[in-house]
Symmetry: C2
Subunit: 334 residues, 2 copies
């Protein structure tokens, strides 16, 4: 049976065009999906009409909504004010069993809030967390949480370790993922009170392949597959990594501006290849783990490839029954 995926046509810096393009791309890539494109019907129709590439239009259903949650709106307030938004509609579709998953590149806080309020957390989950897959130099690692829960407690970080571990295993096919806790030093006892208490919880959980604390540099040296932190730290790290990576690429490109055309072309293509492999935003699709449903969050600047990838993540998340695995693993741990 086809996986039914609701996609927010109105969310993201390049919506609806990039979203619709991504959906069209996914519709030609995957034979076993159905997409519910949620948003302003006229906008969506015109974006679909201008899409040059061949795609299977019959896999796409438009669901009209009137309202859009602004990117900068405060989450809970936004939900109260925009009850007829594309996000609210997607969550309702998931709740009523008419969609298996939902995806948005819109206001992350509002999307996480609507998911939690409408779909509710899984049994035993106190605080859902966002898991981003970061393409490192030796393969990807999963960073969780990157912003759903900025005032975390040790038991929340323990939940993230379990859930992000299951995600890495089931969705990224990493066997016995190595789980690390982000801190200011490798030694037990380094870090804040939150980190020290979490260290103890993770050490005592035999179901985890916990390797201890990790510092930032180690994440780029293939020391772990899953890195756990609170949402405040994770969100800041993510944006730092983004700013630095982009700045580097820009600067290196400028550095070779005066080279002859032929050499410059080679430089730029080498840099573009590296950038394509390491730009996490192109990977698209960070699940909000711990929700009783499938909620995939995309970067605001998502392009068609990010959206198409996110649809792939949603599809695998459903097919591989990650939530079933989460529930049984959490039950074991408790």
């Amino acid at each position: 049976m086809a996986v039914r995926i609701a996609v927010d046509a109105m969310g993201g810096d390049f919506a609806p065009q990039a979203i619709v393009q991504g959906v069209a791309l996914a519709a030609s890539q995957y034979s076993d999906i159905e997409v519910l494109l949620v948003g302003d019907e006229k906008c969506i129709e015109s974006s679909l009409a201008s899409e040059a590439a061949d795609f299977d239009r019959s896999r796409i259903t438009i669901i009209h909504t009137e309202e859009v949650i602004p990117m900068a709106a405060a989450p809970v307030e936004a939900l109260r004010k925009y009850k007829k938004s594309s996000m609210a509609r997607m969550a309702a579709l998931c709740k009523e069993g008419e969609a298996d998953a939902m995806i948005s590149a819109g206001n992350t806080g509002a999307f996480a809030a609507v998911a939690q309020l409408t779909l509710r957390p899984l049994p035993q989950v106190k605080r859902p967390g966002i898991a981003v897959t970061i393409p490192s130099f030796y393969g990807p690692f999963v960073l969780c949480d990157v912003g759903a829960n900025i005032q975390a407690k040790p038991q929340h970080l323990h939940e993230y370790a379990i859930m992000a571990g299951v995600f890495a295993e089931r969705l990224l096919d990493i066997e016995k993922p190595r789980v690390a806790l982000i801190s200011t030093g490798e030694e037990r006892g380094k870090g804040t009170g939150l980190i020290k208490q979490t260290y103890e919880l993770l050490s005592q959980d035999a179901s985890l392949n916990f390797i201890g604390n990790a510092e930032g540099r180690e994440l780029f040296e293939d020391r772990c597959d899953v890195a756990i932190c609170d949402g405040f730290v994770g969100n800041i790290i993510l944006k730092f990594v983004e700013g630095l990576a982009e700045g580097f690429v820009r600067t290196i490109k400028r550095e070779v501006e005066d080279e002859p055309e032929e050499i410059r072309g080679k430089f730029l293509s080498a840099i573009d290849r590296v950038w394509a492999r390491h730009d996490y935003s192109r990977y698209g699709g960070a699940p909000l783990l711990g929700i009783n449903g499938v909620c995939i969050i995309c970067h605001g600047r998502s392009n068609r490839y990010a959206i198409s990838n996110a649809i792939g993540v949603a599809k695998r998340f459903v097919e591989r029954d990650i939530n079933g695995a989460l529930v049984s693993r959490l039950a074991q741990a408790n």
Copy 2:
């Protein structure tokens, strides 16, 4: 009068060789310094003897110490155990007025602890903080604190804003430095309780050019000159930035491995130029701000250039009387 700078010959991954080389370099660069090289006399003598470059040996005095604090030792324990260490001796030299500043690339925690215990904080400073100058793509910005105080309170962050602002103004010659608070969003009200309370304190301080919250990416887009955070977040950011930057350079170099020699050479030299400008460890010399003395912390992997730069920072810190400026600015704020 020459500035007298005590340098820990024994601290750092490449000590004593890189330290001694850096001291020799500084002794030929600056005409108005005297260096007290503190550590094992025989080791230092042999490193000095093997130094090929010309330098003014008369500016360097060796002060023999027997003990070395190991890089991984827990700070307070290390101080208790190694009372005759090079670090303890440097702090004593500063306290007794025989040195104007001290520099170490050794165990950061132990160095910060010995500075606080021996020299004590400046009046009105509750918690000293480490300020690192990060070479961004549009010029440097100052990040404070990067690890001296990992459980910060709002008033500590307020102190860091004032002190790092003075440092940016006086030492980096940035007029009215723009001060930002690192958070998960620009809007007032984004972030943890600590951030929200700090935001209020900084807004109310008219002596600061406070521009509000900043996310990680904005720090690389010339939005601020000074970025404030607690030591846990700052330390993690610093190590992430380091790991990512190094990984990027490695990966890009690998990407052009198969190009013809001539093209590869050009490419590698372009990358090395960018790297040289952006590798903060080469800049060397992060002050522990708020100490009643001048304490300059170097990266463990400091090479001769980092050490020589740190000596330059120490010299300017003393000459421009940064501590005098800190005391008067803090008094104004309180």
